[in-house]
Each structure stands twice: as C-alpha cells, then as structure tokens.
C-alpha cells in the first residue's frame, strides 16, 4: 500500500516537473530537408532549398502568402504609373534589420543596384529582373522602380528570391562573402549559426514587423538520404520533413505520430513531342498519344494519389490556368482510330527520352510504354544522363519522338513557363511553334491589365492544346511529413515556409 502511494507521489511530482518545464522551455522546431543550399545570399541561388529557410530570414517589398496571393511585405502599398513604366512603393516605417540597421528607401536601392550590378551577374537571379531600369529614391520611405518596359509579372517577382531586401551597411562593411555565410535580413527569424552540410540555426526575431512568431528556435537540418530523413522524424528528432519520397507515404501513414500535409505545388510532369521528325510530326499521332494515357492511374500508382491531372503545362494555382480547357479524354479506341487515319501501322516503333537520374521518371516512362503498347505503338525507352539531356539533347533539338519534360514554375504565372517553351528561339522550344503563338506570348508581356493577360494566357494554353505540342500528365502536390506535435502548420505550395503561426506541443 505504501509502495503504491509513493509511486503515485512520484508520478505526480514527475507530472509537475514536466508540465512546469514545458511552460519555461523554449519552443523549438526542427525541419529536415534534402539539400543544403550552401549559400544564404538571396541573389546567388535558384534552389528551392534556399527559399524554405531563406524565407524566414528575409522579406521582399511584396510577400506571397500560402494561397499565393500577393500581400504587402516591406512595402505597405504600391501604384503602377506611366502605363507600367514606373512602379511606386510606399515602405513600412520603423522596420529594422536583424543587426539594428534601419530599413528604408536606400536599402531598397542598394538591394537592386547590387542585384542588377556586378555581384548579381555572378548568380542566376539577375536575369529575372532585367526589366528594371533603375531605382529612384523619392524620400526615405518611398521608392520608384523605373522600368525598361512594362513587366506584368514584376510584382510577383518582387516576392522572389532575388528581390529580398538586404542590409546595405552590413554588406558594405563585412563584404559579400561574410554576408553569404552570416545572413542578415528583416524576417521573422534571425540567423544564429550555420554548419555547412549539417544545419542552420535560427532564433526568433521578437520585433518582426509582421507580428512575433510563436517559435523561439527554428533549426534546419540537411540530410541527403531519404530513408534517414524519415527515420529522424520517426525517432522524434525532427518535426517536419521536406521532400518525402512518394514511395515512403505508406510508411508515414502507418505511423500514428506523423501525418502527411499536402498542397498543390508548382511542379508539372509532361512529355513533349518532336514535332519536326518521326511519326509525331503528325498532329493526329500526337492527339492519339494524348488519348492513350490514363493520367489518373499514373497519379495513383506513382504519387500515392498526391497530384492532379493537367491539360496544359500548369497547375490550377497558376495564373493562366483555364478551368474550361477540355483535355483529351483517355480513349484508347479513338487513339487507335486516329493512328490508323494517320497511316501509322500497328507495331511502329517510337522512342521516349528521359533523364536517367530520376528513378520516379524512369518508372513512369516504363508505364508509358504499356499505355502506348495498348494502342499499337512499340515504345522504346532511352534514359539519358541529366546534364547531357538538358544541355545537348533538348536545346539542340536532338530528341526522339517523345521526351520527358518536368517544370517548376516558381512564379506560378503561366508566362514564366509558356514563353520559355512556346516562343520560337527559346532554349526549351527546339522544334518551334507558330507565328500566332509568338504573337500571343509577346502581346501579354506588355499588358498591365491582368484580366486581359489572363485571357491571352488561356488562349496560349488552348492553342498549345489544339496543336498537341505535348502530353501534359500531372501537377505534383507539395507534400510535407509533419509530427502531430506540431500545431498551426500551414503548407506553402512553393516550400517557402515562414512558420509564423506554427508552434510545437510537447
């Protein structure tokens, strides 16, 4: 009896200690992702791995929220002047960088002078912002962007990596190399330490202008091996895992303490046609192949259901998405008939090129062969080393009849995809499209009226569909594996997590 009592007391005492300690303890969240971006200077990178952590350190004049809507960031308001040749921004007052430096119009000018100048030329971000001619400081809290030409996507791009506002004094004094490894921004979390290939530690910025975050510590760990990342989550040593392999979803679902959180993402998967050579020169053949593939089956089999079939090369979150675009139905009988009309004999060979380093794409390409077999085409697979594929095969128009095409449209604006793959002379358009297509693409680039642009982008989608330049398959979901201890997790479609409202319950 006595024993029983003392046990109870002990349990009570433990409970008290545990509950009081959770009152005092800092709340910490640990995130694991595959890649270490290796540099924190926003203009040095295009990696998604950068933004998933960099978004907590830096702000742009404009921010894009989890619904991909543009919100005021460091700018409180803006207006478009002179038919889009000038954009005027009113800046937040009283904002400071993590090192105590004031944020003001000079910081904005410094940021863009740096991006468009010598330092920016060393990295991949500059080319996104070349429509900016110069930045004019109107007063301490007003800046004008003077444009070379109207750029309807600029506002969205100002939420992009390259446009993150950086501290002038800090960078001038310490140098670019120091800034790269010891970043300072205005974001909700401050830099604490960084060990290359291992982890990045951030701490709360209690004075964040967008409200105090609920987490005290935010740590990113870089773990390349998929199985290891998941094991860390299962062992409870990390709370959120990015880049979960679709094949690992069943394992996650079996575990009661973890859940999958998903949202439609920016990546699409498709195959493009060689429209200049082989049987795919014929529109009927291209349409037939579009009808031969059951996209839903591919999504269920390879993405665990975490994807949406598409009929143009964009997901439904993309600006330019057309809900009324009727895709080619899955209809093998009709496909056979079209092939017959095109004079293609059963058993005709066709080759699919794809990037060899991606196991998932290899499996999907194999599935494709059986769909094509089903309509009488004898499909061969040709895996090609990734950089050869991207440098020598696709841009130089040396592909076979079909070639894999994956695309991550980070702006979620169809222009960013469509122009680069449909406009003649572009790197990813080796076989050309049409004069009509070129005109549409050029027209929407100089229109500021977004409704008008949307109309044209939908026409672009329709035209591409009618000519069956490609076989659009699906829009991949962005998935996160999250510990159930984590509350208030809002998944970002573009992986730019900010963790403002997130907290962890022990």
């Amino acid at each position: 009896m006595l024993k029983h009592h003392s046990l109870k007391k002990l349990a009570l005492a433990t409970l008290l200690v545990v509950s009081s300690s959770s009152v005092w303890a800092d709340t910490s969240l640990t995130v694991a992702q595959r890649q270490d971006p290796n540099s924190w200077d926003p203009i040095d990178t295009f990696l998604v791995a950068w933004s998933s952590a960099g978004g907590s350190l830096f702000d742009g004049l404009v921010l894009r929220d989890e619904n991909l809507k543009l919100q005021p960031g460091l700018a409180t308001s803006w207006e478009i002047l002179e038919d889009g040749l000038r954009m005027r921004f009113k800046l937040s007052e009283g904002v400071k960088f993590h090192n105590g430096e004031d944020f003001n119009a000079d910081a904005v000018k410094f940021t863009f002078d740096r991006l468009l100048g010598e330092e920016g030329a060393k990295g991949p971000q500059r080319s996104n912002y070349l429509s900016i001619k110069s930045i004019e400081v109107v007063d301490d809290h007003t800046v004008d962007f003077v444009m070379n030409a109207p750029d309807p996507v600029m506002l969205t791009k100002l939420a992009g990596y390259g446009a993150m506002i950086v501290p002038p004094k800090y960078i001038t004094e310490k140098g670019d190399a120091h800034f790269n490894m010891n970043p300072v921004g205005t974001g909700p979390f401050k830099f604490k330490s960084y060990t290359q290939g291992d982890k990045l530690e951030l701490v709360i910025n209690p004075d964040y202008f967008g409200g105090k975050p609920k987490l005290d510590n935010l740590t990113y760990r870089f773990i390349r091996e998929d199985a290891t990342r998941l094991a860390e989550l299962q062992a409870g040593r990390v709370d959120v895992v990015h880049d979960i392999a679709f094949s690992a979803i069943p394992t996650v679902k079996e575990n009661d303490s973890i859940e999958i959180v998903s949202v439609a993402g920016p990546s699409i998967m498709s195959y493009q046609f060689n429209t200049k050579a082989g049987i795919t020169k014929d529109l009927k053949v291209r349409q037939a192949i579009n009808m031969a593939v059951d996209k839903k089956v591919l999504i269920d089999a390879f993405l665990g259901g975490y994807g949406t079939p598409i009929d143009s090369l964009q997901g439904k979150l993309s600006f330019g998405y057309d809900p009324d675009l009727k895709g080619y139905p899955f209809d093998p009988e009709k496909a056979k008939q079209l092939l017959k009309e095109a004079g293609v004999k059963p058993g005709t060979e066709i080759t699919i090129d794809y990037r060899a380093n991606n196991a998932a794409v290899g499996e999907i390409s194999q599935a494709m062969t059986s769909f094509l077999q089903n309509v009488g085409l004898n499909a061969k697979l040709k895996p090609i080393e990734s950089s050869v594929f991207l440098n020598d095969i696709v841009p130089k128009g040396k592909t076979d009849e079909l070639f894999q095409f994956t695309w991550g449209g980070w702006t979620f604006d169809f222009d960013n995809t469509a122009y680069l793959i449909y406009h003649d002379g572009e790197r990813w358009n080796p076989y050309g499209t049409s004069e009509e297509m070129n005109k549409l693409l050029e027209a929407q680039r100089s229109i500021v009226d977004q409704d008008e642009r949307l109309k044209i982008l939908r026409q672009v989608g329709q035209l591409a569909h009618d000519n069956a330049y490609h076989l659009p398959l699906y829009n991949e979901d962005t998935i996160y594996a999250v510990s159930k201890k984590v509350k208030g997790f809002v998944p970002a479609p573009d992986r730019r997590m900010r963790y403002l409202t997130t907290t962890v319950e022990e």
């Binding site: 991949p124 080319s127 190399a177 291992d198 094991a231 299962q234 080393e385 995809t417």
Partner: protein, 308 residues
C-alpha cells in the same frame, strides 16, 4: 643499397599512379556536363552570353591541361582554391577529412578488437563448434550490403529503441552506429583473413619447435605465430583500405556524417568540380600512400624480403 633503390622505385610508381588517377578524374568530371548550366538553373531565362560569363568566371574556358596544371600545383602548394558554390576548398576538405579519418580509425579499431581474438580462437580450434559459428557469422556479415545494415541498425537503435542519435554529428554517441556498421563489415572480412593466416602459421615447423621447446601457449601464439602472420594481415588491411574508403562514402551518406563521402556526393549533385576533383584526388593519394606504407612495413617486418 638495394633497399634504398627499392623504396625509390616504389615511390616513383606511387607518384605515377597519382598522376594518372588525377588526370582521369579531371577528365571524367569534365565529361559529365556543364556546371555553368547547373548554376543558372533549368528554368532560368538563359542566354549564351550569361553562360559565357559564368564559364569565364569559373575558369572553365581555359584549356584542359592548363586547368589541370593549376589544380595540381595548387594541391601541392596547399592552395586548393575556391569551389563554385561553397567558398574556399581547403577548410572544407580539412573538416571532412577529420570526420572521415575519425570514423575510419574507430571502425578499424572496433573491427580489430573483435576480429583478432575471434580469428585466433577460430584458428586454434579449427573445425570446432565455435569455429563453425564464427565462420557462419563472418559469411553472414560479408553478405550484408553496408547501406542496408546501416539503415537496419538505425531503425533498431535510433527509431525503435531511441537509444542513439539517428544521423549527423552531435557528440560521441553519433559515432556509434556508423562505426558499428563499418566495423561489422570489416570484422567479417578480417576474421576470415586472420583465421587463415594464423592457421597457416600454426601448422609451420617453427611453431612446432616453439612448442617443443616448452614455451607457454600464450607465448607461442602471441610472440611467434601472430607476429609471423602479421605480414599477411597487414598486407590485407592495406588492400582493404581502398574498399574501406568506398564503404565510408555510402555509410556517411546514410548517417549524414560530415565526411569526405558526403562532401563528394554533395559536390556531384551540384557539379561543384573543384571540390569533387580535390576529394577524389586526395582520397586516391591517401590510398596510394597507405599502400606505400604497407610495402615499407612489409620490408621492416620480414627481413627475407630485404635480401631478395
């Protein structure tokens, strides 16, 4: 002087191997694609001028042999230069090398601690029940792929039992699982070689003589037999060093160990040639060096080789 000329000959051979390997590495890496493209990204709006600029900055426009000479002379003067994406190379290599060597030495130590007594036991009690067990265990150990063993140990000790960290480096406890993984694989192969080397020696006449002299069994085994079988064992360990480094690459990846393997894999993913080239060349030099050491040790241990 034959011994001096022998060493000079071996040294020149080693130097030749290093040159050939480093040339091959430099050439092969450049065959795999354009790092400038990689840097600008697939969906960036790329122009040939942008590509040209980046190549110019990276020094990729210089002739191959000029690039190679710059790399090799840098390597020997200690100035490893800069990587494409991660700043100066020398501190990166130094950090990674320390981590890898720590893991290699601990694993080798673990493996010797287990395999030496067990190997000697198996040889002394040949075909006994214990010997059979040891042989089966060793064969089983050899049959495990190292990454699989690593993941299994991780699932058991870190995920299910939660005794040890899963991955990364956060103190001595982080060493246990990766060292155990490599240690087990090494032990399996060491056991077999120690057993057979000891068996051979135990059957020799000088061991019989030693026993006939009435020496204690302990003295016979450790003073006479082990010392004579050491030549075989050390040669084998030297040869195994290359395999050990190869195994480390995979095991480091599984446990996210911040060593040369992880560094190599990351630089492959980013096509950071300068790092990759340095990592591979340094590892190759290390393996050549260890084998050179083995040859020297050989001569020291066995006076007969000196006379030949």
């Amino acid at each position: 002087m034959p011994i001096v000329s022998y060493f000079i000959k071996r040294f020149l051979q080693a130097a030749f191997v290093v040159v050939v390997v480093s040339l091959l590495v430099a050439f092969a890496i450049r065959m795999t694609g354009d790092p400038a493209m990689m840097m600008l990204g697939e969906s960036a709006n790329i122009t040939e001028a942008d590509l040209h600029n980046i190549r110019e900055q990276m020094g990729l426009n210089r002739p191959f042999l000029v690039q190679y000479w710059g790399f090799m002379s840098g390597l020997f003067s200690g100035d490893l230069g800069d990587s494409f994406f991660r700043g100066a190379i020398a501190p990166l290599i130094w950090q990674a090398m320390k981590a890898t060597m720590l893991l290699a030495i601990i694993s080798l130590g673990v493996s010797m601690l287990i395999s030496l007594p067990l190997g000697i036991y198996a040889a002394r009690h040949k075909n006994s029940w214990g010997d059979q067990c040891i042989r089966i265990l060793s064969l089983t150990g050899l049959s495990f792929p190292n990454f699989w063993l690593g993941i299994m140990l991780m699932l058991l000790f870190s995920v299910t039992l939660k005794w040890l960290p899963v991955s990364g480096f956060s103190g001595a406890s982080s060493l246990i699982l990766p060292a155990l993984t490599i240690g087990i694989i090494l032990t399996a192969s060491n056991l077999r070689i120690i057993r057979s080397a000891m068996l051979e020696v135990l059957n020799s006449q000088y061991v019989m003589v030693a026993r006939a002299k009435g020496l204690s069994e302990h003295r016979v085994i450790y003073r006479h037999a082990l010392r004579n079988s050491a030549i075989t064992i050390i040669t084998y360990l030297g040869l195994q060093f290359g395999a050990l480094m190869g195994g480390l690459v995979v095991v480091e990846l599984v446990f996210n160990w911040p060593g040369m393997g992880t560094l190599a894999i990351e630089s492959i993913a980013q096509r950071d040639y300068p790092i990759l080239q340095t990592v591979v060349t340094v590892l190759a030099m290390l393996i050549v060096f260890v084998n050179l050491l083995v040859d020297v040790a050989y001569v020291m241990l066995d006076p007969r080789i000196r006379l030949e």
